[in-house]
Symmetry: C4
Subunit: 283 residues, 4 copies
Amino acid sequence: MSWLQEAAAVAALTFDVDAEAPILAQGGHYADHLTTMSHQSYGPDVGVPRILDLLDDLAVPATFFVPGWVAEQRPGLAATIVERGHEVAHHSYSHRAPTSLTAAEERADFERALAVFEAQDIPVSGHRAALWEASPQTPALVAEHGLLYDSSLMGDDRPYLLSTGGVVELPVHWSLDDWEQYAYLPTPHVGSVIESPRKVLELWKAELDGMRHYHCLFMLCLHPFLSGRPGRLLAVRELIEYAQRCGDVTFARCRDLAVRASEDTALPVRPVSVPVVDPAVYN
Amino acid sequence: MSWLQEAAAVAALTFDVDAEAPILAQGGHYADHLTTMSHQSYGPDVGVPRILDLLDDLAVPATFFVPGWVAEQRPGLAATIVERGHEVAHHSYSHRAPTSLTAAEERADFERALAVFEAQDIPVSGHRAALWEASPQTPALVAEHGLLYDSSLMGDDRPYLLSTGGVVELPVHWSLDDWEQYAYLPTPHVGSVIESPRKVLELWKAELDGMRHYHCLFMLCLHPFLSGRPGRLLAVRELIEYAQRCGDVTFARCRDLAVRASEDTALPVRPVSVPVVDPAVYN
Amino acid sequence: MSWLQEAAAVAALTFDVDAEAPILAQGGHYADHLTTMSHQSYGPDVGVPRILDLLDDLAVPATFFVPGWVAEQRPGLAATIVERGHEVAHHSYSHRAPTSLTAAEERADFERALAVFEAQDIPVSGHRAALWEASPQTPALVAEHGLLYDSSLMGDDRPYLLSTGGVVELPVHWSLDDWEQYAYLPTPHVGSVIESPRKVLELWKAELDGMRHYHCLFMLCLHPFLSGRPGRLLAVRELIEYAQRCGDVTFARCRDLAVRASEDTALPVRPVSVPVVDPAVYN
Amino acid sequence: MSWLQEAAAVAALTFDVDAEAPILAQGGHYADHLTTMSHQSYGPDVGVPRILDLLDDLAVPATFFVPGWVAEQRPGLAATIVERGHEVAHHSYSHRAPTSLTAAEERADFERALAVFEAQDIPVSGHRAALWEASPQTPALVAEHGLLYDSSLMGDDRPYLLSTGGVVELPVHWSLDDWEQYAYLPTPHVGSVIESPRKVLELWKAELDGMRHYHCLFMLCLHPFLSGRPGRLLAVRELIEYAQRCGDVTFARCRDLAVRASEDTALPVRPVSVPVVDPAVYN
C-alpha cells in the first residue's frame, strides 16, 4: 500500500509555534526588546486561534510543532490544539540549533521537551529539529525515545526511511516555509524584503502542482506569528481551497502519514551518514 | 461601543518624518555624507508638502510622528502639519532605539522631545518608539507623561490596552511599513532590492482585505523620504481610493482612535512584561 | 522659461561606464579575479556598442559618465561616444567614494579625471560623484573647475540650484538606478536577488508616470555591464518607446538640461550644508 | 560557418552537479550539519534522475559539470549521465574557488579532477571554474590539458576565443543561473528571498528573447538540488518547450558548440589579461 493511497500528492499542514524561543535562542537579552517580544507573542496569542478556526472551517487536520519552552510558558496551548483535533509534535525545548550544541546538550534539550509534554499529558509521535538543523545524532534520539517520525531533513520530497532505527522521515524544504517569504526583524537581523501573499501563493501553488505531477509530499511549514496575519492567512485559505479543488490532493497529520509510510514496503531507505572529509581538501 | 464603530476595518495613515535622524543615530559622522543627507532631507522638503496636498485632495486625516530633533531643525514643520488638520505625535528626540539606551538616556530623550513640542505649542497625545524598538519601560514613560496611546508594539492587529497605566496600544507591523519595501542606502547599509510600487500596492491591498475580513486596524507607516517620491505616492493615492471604494473602511487620526478605543469596554488587555529567561538555556 | 519647456517630464538617459573601476576600488587584488574582471569589461566591450546602436535607432540623446581611469584604459571609448552625438561627463578618476577620501585625495582624484579628458580632447560640463557619495566639498570642486552641473544628490526630483557657485543639481535616486535591480557578484559581495526586466520596467514606468504627474526629472542611471545584456536592453528600449508614446516626455543630455535649468529663474535654491550634530546625541 | 548555424540563438543547458562540495568548501565541519548535507545530496539522488527523464522526454542534449570529489563519492553518477547521451565536463575537484587557492593548489585540484574522470573512463572536453571564480592561470590550465573550452567567464554573451592556447570561451552569467533565484541556507548563510518559478521563467524567457534578438548563446546553469525540485523543474520544462516553439533556437552540448565555435573564423578573440593596477589608487 503506497503512502499516497489514491492521491497524486499529500499535503501536510504544519505550524511551528515558536513564539519568543527562536529570538531568545539568539541571545537572552532580547527578552528586553519589548516590540520584538510582542511580535513573537502574536503567534500563539492571535495567530493560533485564528488558524484553528480556519482549519475548522475548511475541515483539514494539521500538525503543530511546539518547543517545550513555549508549551511551558503557555500552559493551555498544547491541550487546546489537541482538543481541536490536531497533532502536537516535538520541536526541541529551547529552539536552539542542534548543530550549535554538544551531544549532551542536544540530548538534555530533547528530553526536557519530552518531559514537558508528558507533564501536560500531550501524546507526541514525531520530532522536528529547531531551525531545521539536525545533527548526526538527531535521528538516533528520535528512535531511542520511540517517536515514529522526524521532519527535519531534505534528502527527498517524498517520505523515506532513515537507516537509523526505522524512523520515517517526512522531509521539509526552505521553499515551503513562510519564514523566507515573510520574516523580518531589524534586531536580531532577520530577513530582507517582505513578500506579498500573492507571490507566496503563486510559489506554493507552483510547487503543489509540481508535486502532483511527481507524486510528492507537500510539507508546508507556517509560523503563526507570520502566516497568522490577516492578508497572509487569507492566502493560506486560498491555497487549501485550491488543493481541495484539485481533487487529487489529500491532507494528513504527520503522525497518520508516518504510520502510512511505515507500512509502505516500497519506501526508499536513505542512510543517516555524513561525508567523510579529507581535511587537506576541506578544512 | 466598539472602536470600529460601523466599519469592517479602520485605516490609520501615519507618516514618520524622520529626515536625517535615523542615519545620524547610526553615526554622527554621516552628517558629512552629502548625498545621504540630501536623500533624507527630501522627506520634509519635498515629500511632506506633496503628502499634505494628497491628503487634502482625498480628504483623509493622518498622523505625523516627528522626532524632536527634526522638529527643532525645521521650526515651521510641525505647525504646518497641524494647521493642515493633521496630528503631530511624539517619535523620540533623536531616533535612537530605546533598546540601545540606558533607562536614564531613554527618559532624557523622551522628555527632550516633549519639551520641543511644548516650546512649539504643538499638542501631543501619543508616542511611537524609534525603530519600533520599545524597551520594557517605554509604556511607563508614555503613561507617566499623560499620553493616551503608544504605537510601537505588535502583540495584536487590533487596538489593545496595555496593563501599564491605561495606555492604548495602536499596533504596528513590518509588513505595513514602506521601509522594508523601498529603503536603500549603501552607507550606512540599508535594504536590499527596491520594490515596485505595484508590488507594494498588491501587498497592502491584500493586508487591507484581510483586515476587513478579521476586523483589524490597518496601521500604515510611511516615510516621506520614501513614499513621497512620485510613483510611490501615486500608489498611496490608489490605495486610499481603493479603501474609500470598499465602503467599509474608515480613516482616523491615531489620537481619535485612541479615544475611541479607550471607551471600548471590550478592548483586550495585554500585559507589558517580558519573558523571564533561564540563562542556562538562553544566554 | 521653465526647464521643462512644454513637457510634463524630462527624461535624462545616463550611462555610468564604470567597467572594472568600482570593483578595484574595493581592493586592487580583485584585478586577479578573472571572471569578475570579465563581468565588468563586458560593459564597455559589449554593452556600450549595443547601447549606442539602440540610441541611434530611437533617436534619443544620452549622457555617459566615465571614470578617468576607464577612459585612460580604453583610449577610443570617450571619443566614440562623443562622435555618436552623446555627452561624456566626469565621474571621478578612480570611482572611489569621496566620503572615503581625505579632502586632498578627493581633489587630486577629481583633477586627474579632468586631465584625462583634456588630454583626450573631450569637453566635459558636468560631474557625478562615484557611488553617489558626494562629500561636503564636492559641489565646490565642481564650481571651481567651471563645470555647469552636478548629478549626485537626492534633495529633490527636479533640477535645483546649489547654494555653492551657481552649480545646477540634476538629482539622482536609487530607484532609477539599475544597480539595485540587477547587480550581483559573490566576491566582492554585491546584490541579493537578480530581478526580472519585467519588474524593472514596471518600476520605472510607475516612476515615469508619477513624474509626469508631478513634473519631474526622470534621471535614469544605467550601467552598460548590467543593462547592456540582451533581455535588459530590450526592456530599456520598451521604456524609451513608452516615454515617446506618452507624448509629454522629452529627452535631453544633462549638459543641455543644465543650461536650460540655469536659465529658469524659478528654479529652487537649496543650501549645500550638513547638519550640525551634537556629539552627546549622535556620536 | 557561424557557430550559430541557422539559429537566432543557441541554448546550452548545463547542470552543475555540486552536491555537498560547495558547502564543504566553506568549512569541513559542515559535514556534521545533517539537514544541510541532505539538502545537497537531494541533487544527485533525486534531482539528477528526474532531470535525465525530462531531457529524454523533450529530446534535448545537455552538459553536466561535475566536481571530481562528487564523481568519486558517487561512482556510477558520471557514467549514467554519459550513457543517457549527455556530456560530463570538468568542474574542479573540490569546488573551492581558484581565486582562494595558490597557483600550485589550483593546479593540483584541477589535475586531481582529471584523474578521477580518467579512472572512470569519462571523456572530458571542457572546464567550468568552481564558483565562476577563474584565476588568471585558469585558461592556461585548460589549454595545457588539451580541453577544448572553458565556461567560466562573462566577457561576452556569445562564444569567443581566449588569447591563451586557442581555448573557446562559452560564457556564463549570474542572471542565467538558478542559484541567485532559489538558493537559501541559514548556515552557511546563502541567499535571501526564495523566488517563485513564475518569476524565474519570466526572467529567463526575457533573456532568451533578448538573445534571439542579438544572436547570443543562452547558457543556462542549473543545480539539481535547486531546479530538480518539482515546481521548478516544471518551469524548466516550460522554458525548454517555449524555446522549441520559437523555432529559431537550437540546443547543443557545450562540447559540440565548442567545436563549432572553433571552426567559426569570425569568432572574436579576447585577451586573457587583468588590469595593471596602481597601488596608490587601488590598494
